[in-house]
């Protein structure tokens, strides 16, 4: 924080129009600055979605941590588990500073007001598929966070930068495990990874959300908490992952090609109807997540209550 240029909202702009003009001119907002309610809600909405995603799929990682076929591979999964919960924690702390408690955050998920991002609705069926899932969804998260780190709300930018350091470890671990199984594994393991990459390419590509013309409502450009279009991020991800996936022996999409003039990737049509249909439903995997989440959340309530009710130490 020290040494960074400070963009402070001038008091004269503490009205909605002034605020919008300030943001549009590249102004940044610091914790404690005046902000319109709509702006605060925008930050809360984006950060809540991300915070929930860090912690809800933990039962999946627990399962794979238990079943990792070597202690050697269990170890980075232990680290990943801690990192992901840590990501939820620093985001939840930021949300608390904005007036949203973590209890409200978790209730939002349990009561269906926050939905899991699309890729996390699908199961991972084998050890070979796991690194493919991790590589593609984790890299998509890196692309998204990298963009959010340039948004207008400085506390969230700082959260994103901290998170990305650890996401980098997750990405390289997944890539190295994919490579190891493809090059040193049995034919069955190799095909698990390669089939996994083909499967998860067609799921993770939806992680960025629908193109602009299919979204409605929120005018994210006004507030610049989010600064890039979904399609822009999808294109960045394809540029990053396509060479990697090919190097692992997979051609993920026969229609994938780059326009030589614009540099834009063209790919097989995505089924946004199915996306919208599924996004608001709970798949069987999600029902399991909700059950696990509810159980451990409710199991902990008595201890939290007890700690709150204890007198402050003198």
């Amino acid at each position: 924080m020290m040494g960074e240029p400070v963009h402070r909202l001038p008091p004269s702009m503490e009205d909605v129009d002034g605020f919008v003009a300030y943001i549009q001119a590249g102004g940044k907002v610091e914790a404690g600055d005046w902000m319109p309610e709509e702006y605060k809600n925008e930050v809360i909405k984006i950060a809540s979605f991300q915070a929930i995603l860090e912690v809800v799929p933990m039962p999946l990682f627990r399962r794979w941590m238990y079943m990792a076929p070597t202690l050697w591979r269990r170890r980075p999964l232990l680290g990943k588990i801690q990192d992901e919960v840590g990501h939820c924690h620093i985001t939840a702390r930021m949300l608390e500073d904005l007036g949203k408690s973590r209890e409200e955050l978790f209730s939002d998920y349990l009561e269906g007001r926050i939905h899991l991002n699309y890729p996390f609705k699908f199961p991972v069926d084998s050890w070979g598929e796991l690194p493919a899932f991790l590589l593609l969804t984790n890299s998509a998260a890196v692309v998204q966070f990298r963009s959010l780190a340039h948004g207008s709300y400085l506390p969230y930018c700082r959260v994103m930068k901290k998170i990305m350091r650890e996401e980098s470890f997750h990405f390289y671990h997944a890539l190295q495990l994919c490579h190891e199984l493809v090059t040193e594994g049995t034919p069955r393991q190799r095909s698990q990874v390669q089939e996994g990459l083909a499967k998860w390419w067609h799921i993770a590509i939806y992680q960025f959300g629908p193109p602009e013309h299919l979204t409605k409502g929120r005018d994210w450009r006004k507030w610049r908490v989010k600064v890039d279009e979904n399609e822009t991020l999808r294109q960045q991800w394809i540029s990053m992952l396509y060479p990697i996936v090919r190097s692992l022996g997979v051609e993920p999409d026969p229609n994938l090609e780059r326009d030589p003039d614009t540099g834009e990737w063209r790919y097989s049509p995505l089924d946004w109807d199915r996306f919208f249909h599924l996004i608001r439903q709970r798949t069987p995997l999600e029902e399991w997540y909700v059950e696990e989440f509810k159980r451990s959340y409710e199991n902990d309530q008595w201890a939290l209550k007890a700690l709150k009710e204890l007198p402050l130490a003198a």
Partner: protein
């Protein structure tokens, strides 16, 4: 490493691996107390590191071969061949009170074990590392016990947890094929004394029975069929094709 230390180190390594696994497994449960989850995850990783140090004593040698031997040792043993104490055969994912009491009891036992083995030259280096981290862990779980123990409802839950765990403290410090100098009876008394210092001011239900059981001669713990299933589940992928393991 001296041959007579091997049974002790085997039991210890098994204790640490499973404690680490339970801690990280518990960290995957949702809770508003994210701080607690992160602390557990940190402690769990320390414990896993300790297990690796101990396995390194059992399987010294060039790196890749050593790694393979360690992995085979974990994944090819029958569940009945694991030597962890009964306290560490319970996952306890859904019972925070029991998880806290078990962690507290185990860390106090660790302190006694580390204290005893710090006198053994072959283990001094590793013990010095573990001792430092175990001190931090012990402080953490003591905090949980003393905090919850001050609350009327929470202390009842701790009491129920103590009652639940009573049958599982009977074999702590018992080591199969242990050398004659390994004195579980004395270690158990020391363990009971150390735990008593924390429990006495709290006056928790069943604490007296627990301390009495802890201070007595070790006896075999109960069969825990869920532990056998837990081990099998962890070994499933490895055992489905041991030749398929890649070593990176």
């Amino acid at each position: 490493m001296r041959a007579d230390l091997e049974p002790i180190v085997r039991a210890w390594a098994d204790d640490e691996i499973f404690f680490a696994t339970y801690l990280l497994g518990r960290s995957c449960g949702a809770s508003p107390d994210l701080e607690k989850i992160l602390a557990m995850a940190s402690i769990g990783q320390d414990e896993f590191g300790h297990a690796e140090l101990l396995l390194g004593l059992l399987f010294p040698g060039p790196d890749v071969e050593r790694r393979r031997d360690k992995e085979r040792y974990f994944f090819e043993r029958e569940p009945s061949d694991f030597r962890n104490s009964s306290l560490l055969k319970l996952e306890l994912l859904d019972d925070w009170a029991a998880f806290v009491v078990r962690a507290f009891l185990y860390e106090e036992a660790e302190s006694v074990r580390v204290g005893r083995l710090s006198e053994v030259e072959d283990l001094a280096g590793i013990v010095a590392i573990m001792e430092r981290e175990e001190e931090e862990h012990r402080r953490y779980w003591r905090w949980w016990m003393t905090s919850l123990g001050r609350h009327p409802e929470a202390r009842q839950r701790l009491g129920s947890a103590i009652e639940l765990l009573l049958p599982y403290v009977t074999d702590t410090f018992w080591v199969k094929d242990a050398p004659t100098w390994w004195d579980p009876a004395t270690l158990r008394r020391q363990w009971a004394e150390s735990v008593a210092k924390v429990l006495a001011p709290l006056s928790l239900p069943h604490a007296d029975s627990l301390l009495s059981e802890m201070a007595s001669e070790p006896t075999p713990g109960p069969d825990v069929s869920s532990f056998w299933e837990f081990v099998r589940e962890q070994q499933r992928i490895y055992r489905s094709d041991p030749e398929a393991i890649t070593w990176g």
